[in-house]
Structures are given as structure tokens and as C-alpha cells.
């Protein structure tokens, strides 16, 4: 079932990002959003999450049912991990503290640690944890993988599977395609401002017998203009 369907035209004052591209998002799927640097992956996520003001013709997800993970963690300098979790619990609806605490243990993060003293990877983990602790219908995740070690990547994937059910849609923008392609059911490929391809990942493997990563390299090598 389609939850978002529109033809998007969007520009920043000095740059045209999308020009009449069709975007369709189905319910209960895991999308992998890929594209080269500066093609508008984060912009598309922000548009879909209604963070950038944009009027969709069809957008069935309510504002409170969206969970957005920005590419950097935002926090106040005085905060310890537990303070930030409490902050989200207080100000956001459907934020599950239990979920956050169980996974804090799994990631071996101490709740009393100051956030500004965490390493980049730990901040990413915390950011990801906060995003998934919120009970939502549309999860928009911007670059979860850089700085994160391989074992924690594994937990990341497991968290998504644990969280997944047929009501929830995940869209993950990343450059580390191989980390995630097994999990994704669709691949949103931003080719140019005019085209966003939406291909089932198994179809790529079936028809050209390439992994999504290799397919991406193959396709984008020929596309000029960035």
C-alpha cells in the first residue's frame, strides 16, 4: 500500500535538487536510499520527513509518527546519556525508555557518561538508538554506519529486524551499501535530478546477477553531470 506518492520538484536558492521526480513509498518495506555525494539523499529524507516544508499530494503519515535521525547527534553540553534519553522521553511521544536501556547494555554504553566525551562512533550509536526507540510508522535514518565498528553494525541490523513489522517503513540513506543490502527490500537510486529509480533488490540480483553495490558502481560510472 502506498503511503507517499508525489512528483517532487524542489530547489534550494542556488541549486536545483529534484526536477519532476516520481517518488513512491510503500508500507512495510525497508528502503535503501543510495546516490552519489551531493545528489540530495539527505534532502529527500528531510522532504519525506516533513522537516523541509513541502506540500505532498499524498502523505499518509502523521507528523508524530515519523522518527528522523539526523546525520549528527544533537544534545546540550551538560547532558549525560541518561539525561538525553529522559529528555526524549519527556518531550517526544511514544519514546520507549525500556527499549533504549536494553540496547544501551548491548552496545556497552554506560548511562552516566557525558555525551560530549563520547567518541564519534558512540555518538552515532546513541543517535541511532534514540531514533529507533521511538515508536513510529516511518523511520528515516541518515548515514548510520560511518565510525561504527563491525560488531555494532550487526546489532544495528538486528535492531531493525526486531523493530520491523508490517506497519513500519524504514528508509536508510547510506554509502555503505554492502552493510545493508541484504536487509533492504527496495533500493531507491538517485540517478540524476530527473530520475529516482525504485528497484526491488532481489530483481537486481536476479536480472543482472550483481550485488546492489556492484550494480550501483556499474550504473553511476556512466552517469555524468555531478
Amino acid at each position: 500500500m502506498e503511503i507517499i506518492k508525489d512528483t517532487i520538484t524542489f530547489m534550494y536558492p542556488d541549486k536545483l535538487v529534484f526536477n519532476d521526480v516520481d517518488v513512491t513509498i510503500n508500507k512495510g518495506e525497508i528502503y535503501l536510499l543510495i546516490g552519489r555525494n551531493g545528489t540530495g539523499k539527505s534532502t529527500l529524507l528531510r522532504l519525506l520527513g516533513k522537516i523541509e516544508p513541502y506540500k505532498f499530494k499524498k502523505h499518509l503519515i502523521a507528523e508524530k509518527d515519523i522518527s528522523y535521525m539526523p546525520s549528527d547527534l544533537s544534545y546540550y553540553p551538560y547532558m549525560r546519556i541518561i539525561d538525553l534519553l529522559k529528555f526524549y522521553h519527556d518531550t517526544h511521544q511514544n519514546f520507549s525508555l525500556e527499549f533504549a536501556h536494553t540496547y544501551l547494555e548491548e552496545f556497552q554504553l554506560k548511562p552516566n557518561k557525558m555525551i560530549k566525551k563520547l567518541s564519534l562512533g558512540e555518538q552515532k550509536i546513541l543517535n541511532y538508538l534514540i531514533c529507533l526507540s521511538k515508536e513510529a510508522k516511518l523511520y528515516l535514518i541518515d548515514e548510520p554506519f560511518p565510525y561504527v565498528d563491525l560488531l555494532n553494525d550487526e546489532i544495528f541490523r538486528k535492531m531493525i529486524i526486531n523493530k520491523y513489522d508490517e506497519e513500519k517503513t524504514f528508509i536508510i540513506a547510506t554509502h555503505q551499501i554492502n552493510e545493508f543490502e541484504k536487509l533492504a527490500s527496495y533500493c531507491l537510486l538517485i540517478k540524476s535530478p530527473e530520475t529516482i529509480e525504485c528497484i526491488p533488490t532481489d530483481e537486481i540480483r536476479n536480472s543482472v546477477s550483481l550485488s546492489v553495490e556492484d550494480y550501483f558502481k556499474e550504473v553511476m560510472r556512466d552517469v555524468k553531470g555531478y
Binding site: D14, L16, P70, S74, Y76, Y78, F87, T91, H92
Partner: protein
Amino acid sequence: MLKVIKYEIRRFLKFYLILLFTCLFFFLVDINRHTVTSYQYQALIIEFITAFLAYYLIIKYIRDEYTDKKYLYIKSSLSPTQVFVGKLLTIIILSCSFLFIMTFFYNLKLYFLYKKHYLDFLRLNLDYTYLALIGREYKEWLYPLHFSLGIIYNTIIFYLMYTIYAKRRMKRYSKLSSIIISYFIPAGIFYVSNYFVKLLDKFFHFLDFSNLTPRVRAFSLREHLINILSINSLIILLVSLVLMVRYITRKRSDNQCEN
């Protein structure tokens, strides 16, 4: 809204306490009754630091909008207006509490002087030091209230200007038009409030400041508003100048589209 205030106050608590205790320490230690000017300047410094605190907080909040901190309240169960009002109240609570605490201790210091060395106290010549309440009529004690009202007024106007500007920029209006609009709406508010004060003067005689001493009349609410406007216009001028400079010197990027 209370939640926002709680977290925002905690955010600035360290800075606030350091500022407060440093000021208190220096002001209380400095009790040489023979240096007349130090007493006069201290009141002035309290005013300055209060204004500085308010503007510092506003600038902090405006800066937040351009960093990742703007994502903290995104998708929260609080509406943007609640967050906005919460932040505004935080600024007002922090700066006004600073003003009142400092005024209290300043006057405590004056009170000891008043009791112990009355002649020195008279020699201080505190007529134009508005925060000094000792030895004044109770009516004149309103002044710090006026001052905090002024700060609140300033804060709201200044924050409002920024919000109007940001809102219009979000809707992709040009920078220049946004600046002009964000200037005109507060100006309109100013004239309305000025008129309102005139009406107050006319219909509520017990608020008429001409009954008070010349010292306070020289600083009636109406005059105060005019002061605020001049400060505001100065700030607006500076802000627009900065923005204009940025606008003029901005380079075209290579991938600028034709349409």
C-alpha cells in the same frame, strides 16, 4: 512548555551560576566607601550584564537554528509555539532573576552603608543610579521593575523579529524582503504599544509618572520605549548590514541552475 523551560534552564544553569557568583563576589568584596564612583558604576554594570545575559541567550537560540540542535525538538509532542514560548520564558526568567538577585545584594550593601556611615551614603550622590532603592520612596521602587519590563519587551521584540525573518526564509522569500518585513512588524508593535502607554497616562492617573520625583519621570515607561526603539533600530541596522554584506559577497556556485 514547562518541560522546555526545565531543560533550557538546566542547559544554561552552569553559565548562569558562574556569572552570578562572579558578579556577587566582586561586588560584595568591593566595599571601599571612599570610592564614590564604584557604587554608581556597579548599578550600571548590573544593568549591562543583565542586558548582556538576555542578548547572549537570544543569540544562542538563534544560533541553534543553524546547527544540529534544531533537531532536538523536531517531531516532539510539543508544538513549535510551545517551544518558542518556553525558550522566551527561559530568557526572561534567567535575566530577570539575575537582575533581582543582584539588585537585592546591591541594596543590601547600600543599606549597611546607610546605617553605619550615613554621611558617606549621602556623599555617594545616587540620584541617577536607578537601581539604588535605599533612601527612596516606595513608589520609586518600581524602577527595577521597569527595567525588567524593558528587557522583556526587548527580548520579545528581538526574538519576534528573528522568527519572522526565519519563517519567511523557510517559505523561500528573498532575504531583503524578509529583513524589511521583520523590521516593520516590530515597528508597528512599537507604535501600538507607545499609543497604549499614552492611553495609560491619560486614563490611569495613579500610574502617571509625573507625580513621582523628577528622577523617575526622566525615565518614564514611554521614554523607555523610545530608548528601546533606538536600540532596536541599531541592532536591526547592524544585522541587516551583516546580512547585506553576506548577500553582496556571496559567490555563485557552479551548479546553479538556469531557471
